[in-house]
């Protein structure tokens, strides 16, 4: 790995933009919780509160043409990759205006034009797909990279292992970005992994691994940029381990009976990536409140947009089953 050069550091204005995006995601997710509890949003939803810095930092480092795959916890990735809040919210409402035309829902957000190949609600399910996208780049000699988001829980799945092996064996331009929030639904890391340091997973394949503080958006940006540069230079895939925190229940409705209340409250008050960035930027209260209002307004607008969206016509039920 080469030292980080100027190009891979965020510009001064960038951090402000990161904050805006993280606030947008935070307000978006909070609204999702409420709209879900009010039964406006059907199905079931997983919010990414606490993990905003990973999504924003990682997506900011991507070049045009790079692609991502996402997970059941997909709103943050999708917003960070540039899909308008309106389209994401409309999708959660099951509307034609949604980013998957109402066919996908919360766990299946797509925006192929913007390089979002979609989210798998099967844990680990998209890791082969990301590897395959990278294979296409490699075969076509395109300087593009595929980045797969996934959680610590996914590292127990066979497909994770097979994909890591394949990617390293074929030196494919893929970045495996593990968001280690130390929970797989109700299962703490120690109950699904015999090792505490998940970068050891990468050693099984001789893959380059990076560890990063997932609550520090700049660090995530830098680490991802480094990983992307490595992958893009045909030096092979990189495993990036972002240590992060799930500052919300697994899904809306989860009572977290399995989680220590005090630990949870303490984590929420000490590990908020937005609070950390705010401090770092030394923003005035007014400026921060202004940013909050902006985010809130954008989300309110998205909710209104979604509410007024169009329910898919049952006549179109069989559209797009086949190309």
């Amino acid at each position: 790995m080469t030292e980080l050069d100027f190009m891979t550091s965020p510009q001064s204005g960038e951090l402000g933009r990161f904050l805006q995006q993280m606030l947008l995601i935070r307000y978006f997710e909070q609204q999702v919780e409420e709209r879900y509890r009010d039964a406006e949003i059907p199905g079931f939803v997983h919010v990414a509160i606490g993990q905003e810095a990973v999504a924003v930092g990682a997506c900011a480092a991507l070049a045009p043409g790079d692609v991502i795959t996402s997970t059941h916890r997909s709103h943050a990735h999708t917003l960070a990759k540039g899909t308008p809040a309106r389209a994401v919210m409309a999708e959660l409402y099951g509307k034609v205006e949604g980013c998957s035309r109402g066919r996908g829902g919360s766990m299946h957000l797509y925006d192929v034009e913007r390089g979002n190949l979609g989210s798998s609600a099967v844990v680990g399910g998209a890791l082969g797909i990301a590897t395959g996208a990278a294979l296409a780049f490699s075969l076509r000699s395109e300087p593009r990279v595929a980045l797969a988001f996934f959680g610590d829980g996914a590292t127990a799945s066979g497909l994770f292992h097979e994909s890591m092996n394949l990617a390293q064996l074929w030196r494919l331009p893929v970045v495996f970005l593990c968001e280690n929030n130390r929970w797989a639904e109700s299962t703490p890391l120690a109950q699904h992994s015999p090792i505490a340091d998940l970068t050891q997973r990468a050693q099984a394949f001789g893959m380059t691994a990076l560890e990063v503080d997932g609550q520090d958006v700049e660090a995530v940006y830098r680490a991802t940029a480094e990983a992307l540069a490595h992958a893009r230079s045909a030096a092979g895939p990189v495993f990036v381990l972002a240590e992060t925190y799930r500052l919300a229940p697994h899904n809306v409705g989860d009572q977290q009976e399995y989680r220590d209340k005090e630990e949870y409250e303490l984590t929420r008050s000490t590990q908020d990536p937005i609070a950390k960035l705010r401090e770092r930027l030394a923003l005035s209260d007014e400026r921060f409140a202004e940013l909050e209002r902006e985010a809130e307004a954008a989300v309110a607008d998205a909710v209104e947009f979604a509410r007024h969206g169009t329910d898919p016509d049952p006549q179109t039920l069989l559209e797009d089953v086949y190309a």
Partner: protein, 330 residues
């Protein structure tokens, strides 16, 4: 002395069968994702950790393949494991272990081995769970020699059949349906085992037989009520066990009614209903006054939007319409 009865939900009935077996028998244990403190994604195992401890109510990593394999291995050693697969959509991950091993170890070993493993799973549509959390997959397993397939539609059947599945010496894939968990029924405290391979006549009738599974059983009963208003007498047969299938019960009913509708939530094409229709026309051809009608989901992945999902999955209206068509024809 009147026996004590309690209202059991389908969920509680499933839990009760497991708990009673585990109290009686140290060889029975359960493993799966989030089944311990959390009580499982559908709360079926809630409270079992407290009673049986973490060794026998084993929280597991996201490793459906290895969990199923471990269930097979423990079963080969004489234990009676229950593996919970959180959604039946994820049975796809366990398919190799179920089809190539659980189903075949006994046969390939020339009868040396038994695999008394129960794989419990749940799923089903009706709540916008979308394409990867709601499809019905029972049909795949019905065609795999060596596996048994159970799909109860009532609390009583769930409890009695799960018990029998646990104590069956073969691998049973046991399907629960998310929309049935809150169905309630009075049951005696004492567990009544229900033998695998016996259908239940959920309603007696004369004019048409509806063979229904899972959530389509209550839907078929509702459709039958409605048809009764039109003067049509409907018999509803719930096979409960899809393999081995109680062919005789189905055929006997059809020989009486001369008409048959088969209804399930799975996609119509290649669904279990195809087997029933093929069977009925094969074995009761001369009795049939109308073609066997199949009611099932449309041929698409499950859509998320409620407006689409409603249009895709069959409920009482579709069963009713099929009854009317079948009785109306010639």
């Amino acid at each position: 002395m009147p026996e004590t009865k309690t209202r059991f939900s389908y969920r509680e009935a499933v839990r009760d069968a497991m708990s009673q077996a585990m109290r009686r028998d140290p060889d029975v244990f359960v493993m799966g994702q989030d089944i311990a403190e959390h009580g499982g994604s559908q709360k079926v195992t809630l409270g079992m950790l407290e009673e049986f401890g973490p060794d026998r109510v084993r929280n597991a990593p996201i490793s459906e393949m290895a969990l199923t394999g471990a269930g097979i291995g423990a079963a080969m050693l004489g234990m009676r494991p229950i593996v919970e697969i959180m959604y039946e959509d994820f049975l796809t991950l366990a398919m190799e272990q179920l089809v190539n091993h659980a189903a075949k170890e006994r046969y390939m070993s020339g009868g040396q081995l038994k695999v008394p493993l129960t794989v419990r799973t749940q799923g089903g549509a009706g709540w916008s769970s979308a394409a990867q959390h709601g499809q019905q997959t029972e049909g795949w397993f019905v065609g795999v020699p060596g596996l048994k397939v159970v799909y109860p539609s009532t609390p009583r059947d769930a409890r009695g059949l799960l018990w029998s599945s646990i104590y069956d010496d073969n691998c049973v894939v046991f399907f629960e349906h998310v929309q049935l968990y809150n169905q309630r029924e009075e049951l005696p405290e004492e567990l009544e085992p229900i033998p695998l391979g016996k259908a239940r006549i959920a309603r007696a009738g004369e004019d048409v037989t509806v063979v229904a599974t899972g959530p389509l059983v209550p839907e078929a009963l509702a459709a039958a009520e409605q048809a009764e208003q039109d003067g049509i007498s409907v018999e509803v047969v719930d096979p409960r066990t899809l393999q081995p299938l109680d062919e005789e019960a189905i055929l006997e009913s059809v020989r009486k009614t001369s008409r048959c509708v088969v209804a399930h939530e799975a996609v119509r094409r290649m669904g279990f209903g195809a087997e029933v229709a093929a069977l009925v026309q094969e074995k009761a051809f001369d009795w049939l006054d109308a073609p066997v009608e199949r009611v099932g989901a449309c041929f698409s992945p499950l859509p998320f939007a409620p407006s689409l999902e409603r249009a895709c999955i069959p409920r009482r209206e579709q069963v009713y319409a099929a009854i009317k068509r079948t009785v109306g024809s010639e």
